[in-house]
Amino acid sequence: MTDALCLSAGDDVANLLGDVRAGDTIRLRPDGTTLVAAGDIPCHHKIALRALAPGAVVTRNGIAIGTATCAIAAGAHVHIHNLRSLRARPASQKDIRS
């Protein structure tokens, strides 16, 4: 079992403390609840703690870190393929903000 750190209650993502494979069980610190990885995720990367809709603002450690660019399943890897910054976007790229 691999631990993941949920930095602030209510966060949408947690950081893994080891490499995980799809199907592995993850135990969240500090509250001890578990979830199952929906894919392979490298150590220290983020795992979704709940299903996130396209355009949803994603929070980590209590702050908005970007928006989901597509539907993200609970247990999925959250990274540059499905999360984009809310800020400093050239005008041509603002269309994916919703």
Binding site: L5, L7, N15, L17, R29, P42, C43, H44, H45, K46, R60, N61, I63, A64, I65, G66, V78, H79, I80, L83, R84, S85, L86, R87, A88, R89, P90, A91, S92, Q93
Partner: protein, 393 residues
Amino acid sequence: MPSSIPQTSAPTALSGYRRGDGRIGCRAHLLVLNATGLTDRIARRIAAAVPGTVLTSYPYGMGVLGPDADAARRALRGLANHPNTGAVLLLSADRSRLDEVAEALDPARPFEALALDSADHDALRLTALGTAAAMRLRRAASRQARDAVTPAALCVALECGLSDPTSGIAANPLIGHVADRIVDAGGTVILGETLEWLGVEDQLARRARTPEIARRITEAVTRREALAVANGVDLLGLNPNRRNIEEGLTTIEEKASGSVAKSGSRPIEGVLDYAEAPPRPGLWLMDGPSYTPESVTGMVAAGAQVALFSTGSGNSYASALCPTLKISANARTVAALDTQIDIDASALMGGQDAAAMAGPVLDEIAAVFGGALTWGEVTDEGNEVISRYGEAL
């Protein structure tokens, strides 16, 4: 205090070099300070010929304009007068640039100044004159001695480079606890890298001493954000950079939220310009670039005697003038970079209390003041890189 952290005890006893302006150094380096590109090679030859010399070279000329001219003047004066500078050899193509730095020098600081016309514009003769001068100055600097000093004398630069998620989760909060203890003891800390306040600027602004300071914080961030947008730059890949992304950081807001943890929890006294010295103790922000060499040099020129520098996957940069303590909470990095990382904070990822580790970090700062070398000093990786804003005439 906008903090749940209790007021802390002072750091352990320190010793350092008392300077004429009242500041305290942890080193008595001979600084070879070159102010123009034309004399860069001469300065490098002199520094190579005199062991133990710190070289800083500003590679541009007198045609830099506006904010560049101001920043260059502040940086050159700040480095010449730096508390870790025991003696200084100033070099320049033009005598006017020498005078500009020399007139601001602490009169107690041993110094010599040479321009190309000191040697009829002969580079080799200036090298010979400068080498002899540097040797005299090095001997003078070596005769300075340390005294007992108070922790209120501390001025510490807070930096992170090649961050990964362990930086924001563990190493930067550790630096934040140390920063709080230094501020509580009457000392000074400086946080730079304006772009890494982006997304958390409102949190920082709430800690500002006055509404005017809060406004400067948010304006500094939105100005850099607008600069990126105006230049068509997508921050993804630049900040966070490719290595940050490989290690698990995704957006600038995420990186920034970890980065500003280095500032701790105390009130923000103001926003400094690049290389501007803080006018009084406390926590200061510096509006500056995020690229590590430029960022660190801005804080060193402002007077930081020591830098606390967190890294995720390892960053070899160190200041030459300001001993730079590398801190990592990534166990793989600590194991792999055994001649780069000074402080192993990886136990924090296992749940150890960051506040409890602040004491050992302060002890390490005290050791450096007493003469202990950082890895950056042992490996001689140190350098200073003065930032630029725009075009020159």
